[in-house]
């Protein structure tokens, strides 16, 4: 890269470079436009939803209205508890399973791994009734655990981590063993640190998925004390009446803010992780 940059560029290359940059900006602007528009709507009175005036009076009223339409404070807490429970369990279960699939030989390994992969092909919606039945037999209907349970043994996570663990040289494993580390210690000291970017990338995918998940949480929970943010947002879906875009914008900005802020803070880490993990 540095060598290429130091060489004198031909005119064609320069033009190409320029075009590429222009393309990036164009796509970037197209991508951010809806977000900017919803920020505009959220901070202005409903009259300005479709009229652009640079100095239109700003207001926070939409946020107050949105906040009061549903118990969002509680919903934030529930969502936070939900995604942290899921994430912790997913990391533990997927790590252990992936380690077993990557480094151990046991009877029926291929078959079991195939079964795990089959889970990838099944839409969670298809299992709605069966999952409900299981959860109600466990007596867990209307709990935060119930919302997370079906997602904890994630086939995607197991697959992703197994592939990563397979790329880690056996020599490192052997070296750790020579130093006297047991299997779990080896996993903890060798595999997990080396797979860190994958954990970050997978964690982000998982968190954003469960932050946005609606149907299963709505079906399995009944009370304010367990329901997540997405259910609260549904209060604004009012097809029988006109839609109040400004309040909806305020509500969705409010509920996605933690994710947006988190992404901005850890942007560099995320981008690097995704480059290495090769997923999107």
């Amino acid at each position: 890269m540095t060598i290429a940059a130091s060489l004198p560029q031909s005119r064609g290359e320069k033009l190409w470079d320029l075009l590429e940059k222009a393309g990036c900006y164009l796509l970037g602007i197209l991508w951010v436009l809806p977000l900017l528009y919803s920020v505009w709507m959220a901070f202005h009175a409903p009259e300005y939803e479709v009229r652009f005036e640079l100095f239109a009076p700003l207001t926070l009223e939409n946020f107050f209205n949105a906040w009061n339409a549903a118990p969002f404070g509680r919903y934030f807490l529930n969502t936070f508890m939900l995604i942290s429970t899921i994430l912790v369990c997913q990391f533990v279960i997927c790590t252990l399973a992936a380690y077993a699939f990557a480094r151990y030989e046991f009877r029926g390994k291929t078959l079991i791994f195939m079964l795990v992969l089959v889970q990838l092909m099944i839409m969670p919606e298809v299992l709605l009734v069966e999952n409900y039945r299981t959860i109600s037999q466990l007596g867990l209907v209307d709990t935060i655990l119930a919302m997370g349970l079906p997602y904890m043994a994630s086939a995607f996570g197991i697959f992703l981590l197994r592939q990563t663990f397979l790329t880690i040289p056996r020599e490192l494993d052997d070296a750790a063993r020579v130093e006297g580390a047991g299997p779990l210690m080896t996993l903890w000291k060798v595999y997990v640190p080396l797979a860190r970017p994958i954990y970050v990338a997978y964690g982000l995918v998982s968190v954003s998925y469960h932050w946005n998940n609606l149907l299963w949480p709505l079906v399995i929970t009944n009370s304010v004390t367990t329901r997540p943010l997405t259910v609260g947002l549904q209060v604004f879906a009012s097809p029988d009446q006109g839609v109040q875009w400004s309040v909806i914008s305020a509500a969705s900005l409010m509920t996605s803010a933690p994710l947006l802020v988190g992404f901005l803070l850890f942007q560099r880490q995320f981008v690097q992780s995704f480059m290495r993990a090769g997923i999107k």
Partner: protein, 431 residues
């Protein structure tokens, strides 16, 4: 097999009642109530207030209100819970999903619980047109709750501007075209600044088509729920008229018009006349920055408009004692006073004549005459399209309407294709 089960169940509530009297001192009977939110505003709070009052009058019953998303999510949630063996005792679900619920054996008819003369009078008090979407095989499977209809709105200022009488909306199909032509405003470059007429077509567009078909003296389905008439001449003419508003007369925005933005276009003066749900009455009243008129839908061969909205259903496979409690709740909720209150606070139509005679309702109509327009339309209403596998059939006709409006298919072709498809879905239910 299922029939005998149901018959057996039907005789149980009598015992349940005895048990309830005997155990009056014991724990209150708890029932779960799923309700959807189809309009904006603090609906949850209104429900909580109603339930509090119900519980004061019925200390032996405790109602857990469970907000369950939109109508279709409520349907999924209730059916999932039912199949997993934990149905809610009561749920408000679209009236058009009645056949689907019956086919699943998920609900029980109200007749199982109606015993006293008072109960019978209550059940007879609903307006027949609303009951058409609640009854099948001589049984009442749910009672009307939060029903609506379509209304016609116009911008009085725009009327004045083009020299029309602002206090008189168009009364028939020809007048709509005539007025809309006058009201459509184009700038020098031929770009439209204001459309004369806008009819939403993004979702459940069959519903608006039904209005046109009723005005054209036809119908789009049989109330037994197993036959549609999508390709009948009345339906073809009706859809042709709708398509022509944009395609031939060029007085309506071409393509699909979104439900959600239609009222907005009206407020912003980009559409001079619109049709939309009666649920929008309060929205328009609060947000239109000009004087507006509201009336029932214009006529063609006659007046006509569809109903819409939900039913409160009592679920199957629930302890009889709980079903009985659920019945008490449903009955209380649809008494005249509560119907009137719900109607005033949300804009839905009270489905009972006696609700319109309550003092609260009379006072409301006196203060806001627009509210009475929905009642004026009741004699001309037709039930909403409701068949077996309703969501599939509705989808078929919606797609046909969209194809016709966007010019993808000619009207008659779109409708005959739709009829064929609907026939394929519904045939098994007739044999």
């Amino acid at each position: 097999m299922k029939k005998t089960k149901r018959f057996f169940k039907a005789s149980l509530p009598a015992f349940a009642l005895l048990a309830m009297v005997a155990g009056a001192e014991a724990e209150p009977v708890e029932i779960n109530f799923y309700y959807p939110v189809a309009i904006g505003g603090p609906v949850s709070k209104i429900f909580e207030g109603l339930i509090e009052r119900f519980e004061e009058g019925h200390p032996d019953i405790k109602v857990n209100p469970i907000y369950s998303g939109t109508y279709s999510e409520t349907f999924s949630k209730a059916l999932t819970a039912y199949r997993a063996g934990q149905p809610p005792e009561v749920a408000v679900i679209l009236s058009t999903d009645m056949f689907s619920l019956i086919d699943e054996d998920a609900i029980v008819p109200m007749e199982d619980f109606v015993k006293t003369d008072e109960d019978k009078a209550w059940l007879a008090g609903f307006n027949p047109v609303f009951m058409a979407n609640s009854r099948s095989q001589d049984k009442t499977w749910g009672v009307p709750f939060q029903r609506g209809t379509t209304l016609f709105f116009w911008n009085k200022e725009a009327f004045k501007e083009v020299g029309l009488d602002p206090d008189k909306g168009p009364q028939n199909w020809e007048e709509v075209v005539d007025f809309a032509t006058k009201l459509t405003k184009r700038d020098a470059g031929g770009n439209v600044e204001r459309w004369g007429m806008q009819v939403p077509s993004s979702l459940t567009s069959y519903w608006l088509l039904q209005g046109y078909v009723a005005q054209n003296d036809g119908k789009i389905y049989e109330e037994t729920g197993d036959k549609t008439y999508f390709d009948s001449p009345e339906v073809v003419e009706a859809l042709q008229y709708w398509v022509d508003l944009a395609a031939k007369h060029k007085v309506m925005k071409p393509g699909v018009i979104e439900w959600a933005t239609n009222p907005k276009d009206f407020f912003e003066g980009r559409a001079a006349m619109i049709t939309t749900t009666s649920g929008n009455l309060t929205n328009i009243k609060t947000n239109a920055p000009f004087d507006f008129g509201v009336q029932i839908l214009p006529e063609h061969k006659k007046r006509g408009a569809p109903t819409s909205g939900g039913n409160a259903y009592i679920f199957n496979d629930v302890e009889p004692q709980k079903q009985e409690a659920a019945f008490q709740f449903v009955k209380w909720l649809s008494m005249p006073e509560q119907s009137a209150e719900w109607s005033i606070k949300t804009g839905y139509i009270a489905a009972r004549d006696d609700a319109w005679e309550t003092d609260a309702m009379k006072a409301y109509v006196a203060e806001f005459p627009g509210a009475a327009v929905t009642r004026e339309q009741i004699p001309y209403m037709v039930p909403e399209l409701s068949t077996h596998e309703n969501q599939r059939v509705a989808r078929v006709i919606d797609d046909a309407i969209e194809a016709a409006l966007t010019g993808g298919k000619p009207v008659d072709k779109a409708l005959s294709d739709a009829q064929q498809e609907a026939e394929r879905i519904l045939k098994p239910y007739r044999d």
